[in-house]
Symmetry: C2
């Protein structure tokens, strides 16, 4: 009798103080409990092995009691969810959203404040968020800190960039957790505005690998009306603590109940392909809120852009003068201005001839003479073209050629100024039939004191996406906070940069060959990246003998990036004249799709290599992209993803035998094969190289 | 020979180190010199008596050497200026701008930075500003402090309100300089957001009177792209130091050469009428920048507004619910909503019947359920009417009745949100033919950390004026930074509140009877004030027996305010039903003009009394307004301002014999006289009373 009572008590205690929830396949398991002080905590196991040791959770409020102790469990609830949904544009036509959910309703003793923790456990990871229900004693509140822990179990390998409130445009550092140290970085890296916030602070998505070859990734999803979360690392104990990005006066977030925090996510798998192919981040966002999505279309585009990066032309019209004088008609053309009517027509002709959808033109509007580095509020008005850019004539010419113009809105981070002008800027786009704009946020933010990753700016980027949607326009943001899946909700937010893009290769230390092998495990989890691949003239010495910069790639790898670096908005970034020189290789860029029915990650190792195949949306054509880091790589690929019984013509664009990203980057070869789903193909990737393949059904 | 040399040396030293400039009549004299440390300084004399003792000048820069020492005079230049200009709307048809100017070009030893000081000396005062010419070594710069001194010579009487970065809605304190102490104020005064920045900090315009009955006023003009200047007082030594309002991170102003500071002004006269009637502040602003001013018209208006202040109706539609639910259709009408279609039509009928130009409607748009006090960013969208406000029908009805609607844009100080929506808000105004809007900024500013008086907000208020001008619309801002003459440059900025308005009488300790006798010497120097006079039902107990609040006035004084409180936008603030009860007195409000050919201040003593007569624009009708403080007052007025030989019918609206602002405020009498320019009229003002007179030529 005594024993029975004891068992029963344990059962009751478990009911009240601890809750377990598992993923659909049961491979991931989360245990929630309250600590003796009444603080929420959780533990994560993967295949019965501890992955996240006891980690506490809580929120600190400004001028109110902290929500990190004295809680009692009022109620718990579990649910299962399994649905499929169709993204407007995406890596696959159908996305499965399958998870088990645990809602723990907490009430704080004394204050009687209610806070819920919601856990969702997918087969590739865990997500949790704070939920603040509507209640009399908590209406408006200010978050002064979030104290979420992610306590790891060992000194894992980690791919990290520093916790910078203003930029993610860093190369990745591969080290042990214990070796994270932002003060040891070489910061002569071409980034315009840096605000590294701590010696041991890193950004998410944070990709890790354990000694037992378990892959882990800490990130967040659905960052809406909340700042970005960075991570403060206890390097001695492998503990990661949430670090929300503050505003000008040090507050973190202004909220009103009912409301939720973003999801904090921990992906876990013993197969890296599960992580790189995961749609968990998208799944954790709200469904599409746009009724008529007919205007949201994939675009491949060229543009007047790389030619400024390589020094052939300039964004500005006048060179040295002050943009504020433009109104006085004092601007004298430097003769190097890229965005002229004539040059734009040349790009339109090139786009039309080669089947591109769009032409981006940067430097079209007044302001570039004096746009950067001075925290200047009124730079651009987003509506005044330079005198040599005849927007009406260009728009008419593009229409005649069946090419769409892509607008450029560089804000120079003067966000207040952009918001003031946005409606007029969008009106101009509609007037001249621009379906999309690329936005830019280079510089220190205005309102002054705000950071790119603070709540104010997160709200701005999301506001811009919604405002574009109101006008049936698409937007591609550069230098924005990194996406966390908002493109599910607003798929007109078609792409973003928000990581170190290809441009850095033109004028800085650039991006090492491994860079593109880690981005799909980090930045791309949150949404498409406008990486701007396709550089054929790889060495800047081509333009200027004295230059030593180069893209850290082979030409074949640049082709492969169109497949490995998912985006429905893909630039062929190099100059028309360069593509014309390598027209056979250019054929792949012309052929490759930008929207997909299916994607299969065949091989994946973060920081080392990636091989993916994708089936073009609504077609039977497949494309393969394989890339490697600085190491050469061979592998054999089974083509069993192809349709049974169907013959395909495979055109293989690969590194030539002696190709090498540094020594011989352009060397490529192209071969054609007839293949079926029983065939195998050998991939031979040069150091810093890649392979791109198109599979066209033979009729 | 020795003596001659010595004289010559003194002359040269004078040339280099000291400069004198006098007003056209020579009554005011300014001496500029560099101190031994090379700091600019000045002294002001009035009729050979010292008014400002040696006061130093300088600017401190962030991350750059201070511009407050080591200067040398590179050059000096004097000039005289005498012109007349015609304001679009104003107290007089022609304004004379007559001054002598001294420009001192300084260069700093070592840095070689150039800074000029420009002095303008008018017969009623001195103005000076800092001028930063375009130069290689000073392009962009951040002002961390301005250190301008105004050193007075004695412990003058001063009318002060506390140096509050967010509000000027205070009652005036009358004390000695040595008694200034913001910590002794009763702050239970109805002001929503207070940010008093120091124990001894006061605001300008600061009106003073010396023991010798000299009147002084320290203020500023042309505050454009610069924060408001408050004054830090050394109460022991009667020294006033400039205190610029900071932004969220403590910076004061972001500038780029060439640029100027606002004018710092010191008005001086032994006749108070010279100050209250001065147009110096307007003269120091740039001329009108609007080409087509045809849409800028004076307006007398009524509105759905006072009825909310007295508790008869509400701004909000639903009462207790949250405005964020409006989109869900969850709002349930409380039955007390003021801005209904029906009530608006009633006001339109009343306006049409009584010859008013406009009808203001507050509380017409969704958001009022939860608009104040929570630093909430997204409150109003400025375009969504409540379901019981049929904007299309109202607009059509107003047009039929030949009445213009006045829009209301309460921003709740969420300026970022207003700027985002402004273009759409103005589009709505144009669509429904609203010629003007009243804006409101009640609350803590968003962008968070900014103040109402900082550079960001000064720029906002000016931006809004320009944006309204772009759309040929007029704006009247409430809770803005106080005007400093920008309405000369943008006369569509037709009025502002920016001081403690009549509304405070309805629900707070209110405004003492002296309040309206000081405002013309302070707030009104910078531009028209929308004080909203015309309250006939003076005691709030009329609406609710339990209320003790009241307007601190007699009814006759309310009429006089239409003349003493200059504004081309004048509200008849009380309820239609109240005017109908006192229809004979209401006649004055119906008759009085709002734009003038001429204004003559007949009697003036700050804080005590004011008598002014004005001639209606383009007419031969004159109006007199006379007000007093809590003391009764008698005076005899010569009517020599009237046209010679012309007979006039004078209708005198005055306090009844036993009238008293507190004991018997409504008691008035009306009498008519035939008068000429040889006549005299005896004024009999009750305690807290006034007299209003119309003079209509007899044909």
């Amino acid at each position: 009798m005594k024993k029975l009572l004891s068992l029963s008590l344990i059962f009751i205690l478990n009911m009240v103080y601890s809750q377990n929830i598992q993923s659909p396949s049961k491979r991931i398991s989360v245990d929630f409990k309250l600590t003796p002080s009444g603080q929420p905590s959780y533990v994560v196991n993967y295949k019965n092995k501890l992955v996240i040791s006891e980690s506490t959770l809580g929120i600190k409020l400004k001028d109110k009691p902290s929500l990190d102790a004295n809680f009692e469990i009022e109620n718990t609830k579990t649910a299962s969810f399994n649905e499929s949904w169709k993204p407007v544009l995406g890596e696959q036509a159908i996305i499965v959203n399958h998870y088990n959910e645990l809602t723990v309703s907490l009430i704080q003793k004394g204050t009687q404040i209610k806070m819920n923790l919601i856990f969702r456990v997918f087969d590739e990871g865990v997500a949790f968020r704070y939920d603040f229900p509507k209640q009399a004693d908590l209406n408006y509140f200010i978050i002064s800190d979030e104290v979420s822990q992610f306590n790891l179990t060992d000194n894992h390998k980690v791919f990290w960039i520093p916790g910078d409130y203003d930029s993610q445009e860093y190369v990745y550092n591969e080290s042990k957790i214990s070796e994270i140290d932002t003060q040891k970085l070489n910061l002569n890296n071409g980034i315009g505005v840096k605000s590294i916030a701590g010696k041991h602070m890193v950004q998410s998505p944070l990709m890790m690998k354990t000694a037992e070859s378990l892959y882990l990734n800490i990130f967040e999803a659905a960052v809406v009306n909340y700042p970005v979360m960075h991570l403060n690392v206890d390097v001695a104990n492998y503990k990661f603590n949430s670090q929300l990005v503050p505003n000008a006066i040090g507050d973190k977030a202004y909220l009103q109940t009912p409301c939720v925090s973003p999801w904090r996510t921990i992906m876990i798998s013993d197969d890296a392909r599960d992580i790189v192919g995961s749609k968990m981040i998208l799944n954790l966002n709200d469904p599409c809120k746009i009724d008529d999505t007919s205007y949201i279309k994939p675009m491949k585009y060229v543009g007047i852009w790389w030619e400024m990066h390589v020094g052939k032309s300039t964004w500005d019209y006048a060179g040295s003068q002050n943009a504020q004088n433009a109104a006085d008609g004092q601007l004298k053309p430097s003769g190097k201005h890229g965005a002229t009517t004539e040059n734009t027509k040349r790009y339109i002709d090139f786009a039309a001839k080669n089947g591109f959808d769009g032409v981006l033109v940067e430097g079209w509007n007044v302001g570039w003479e004096d746009w950067f580095g001075n925290w200047k509020e009124e730079v651009f008005d987003f509506t005044t073209p330079y005198p040599d850019f005849d927007i009406a004539a260009i728009s008419a010419y593009a229409k005649e050629k069946n090419v769409k113009m892509i607008m450029h809105h560089e804000t120079s981070a003067s966000v207040a100024n952009y918001e003031r002008h946005l409606d007029r800027a969008l009106d101009l786009m509609k007037k001249y039939d621009y379906p999309a704009a690329k936005t830019g946020y280079v510089g220190k933010i205005i309102p002054r004191g705000e950071f790119h990753d603070g709540q104010t700016m997160v709200n701005h980027f999301n506001f811009v996406a919604r405002r574009f949607a109101d006008n049936k326009l698409m937007v591609n943001s550069h230098e924005s906070s990194r996406p966390t899946g908002y493109s599910r909700t607003y798929p007109n937010y078609i792409a973003a940069e928000a990581a170190r893009g290809n441009e850095f290769n033109a004028w800085s230390t650039g991006n090492p060959p491994m860079h593109e092998t880690i981005l799909p495990f980090t930045r791309l989890l949150g949404g498409p990246m406008d990486y701007t691949p396709g550089i054929f003239e790889i060495k800047m010495s081509f333009y200027d003998k004295s230059k030593t910069e180069q893209v850290h790639t082979t030409l074949a790898k640049q082709l492969a990036l169109y497949v490995t670096m998912y985006s429905p908005l893909q630039m062929a970034a190099d100059l028309p004249e360069n593509y014309e020189k390598y027209n056979d290789a250019f054929q792949f860029i012309k052929d490759v799709a930008a929207d997909w029915d299916e994607s299969k990650y065949l091989e994946a190792e973060p920081g080392d290599y990636l091989t993916v195949v994708r089936k073009a949306k609504g077609k039977e054509t497949w494309f393969l992209g394989a890339i490697t880091d600085e190491n050469a790589r061979k592998s054999e690929i089974k083509l069993d993803f192809l349709n049974k019984g169907q013959k395909y013509k495979a055109i293989i664009y690969e590194d030539a035998k002696d190709a090498h990203w540094q020594k011989n980057p352009i060397a490529y070869k192209i071969r054609a094969l007839e293949v079926t789903n029983k065939s195998k193909i050998n991939l031979n990737l040069a150091p810093g190289g890649g392979t791109a393949i198109s599979f066209e059904p033979i009729k």
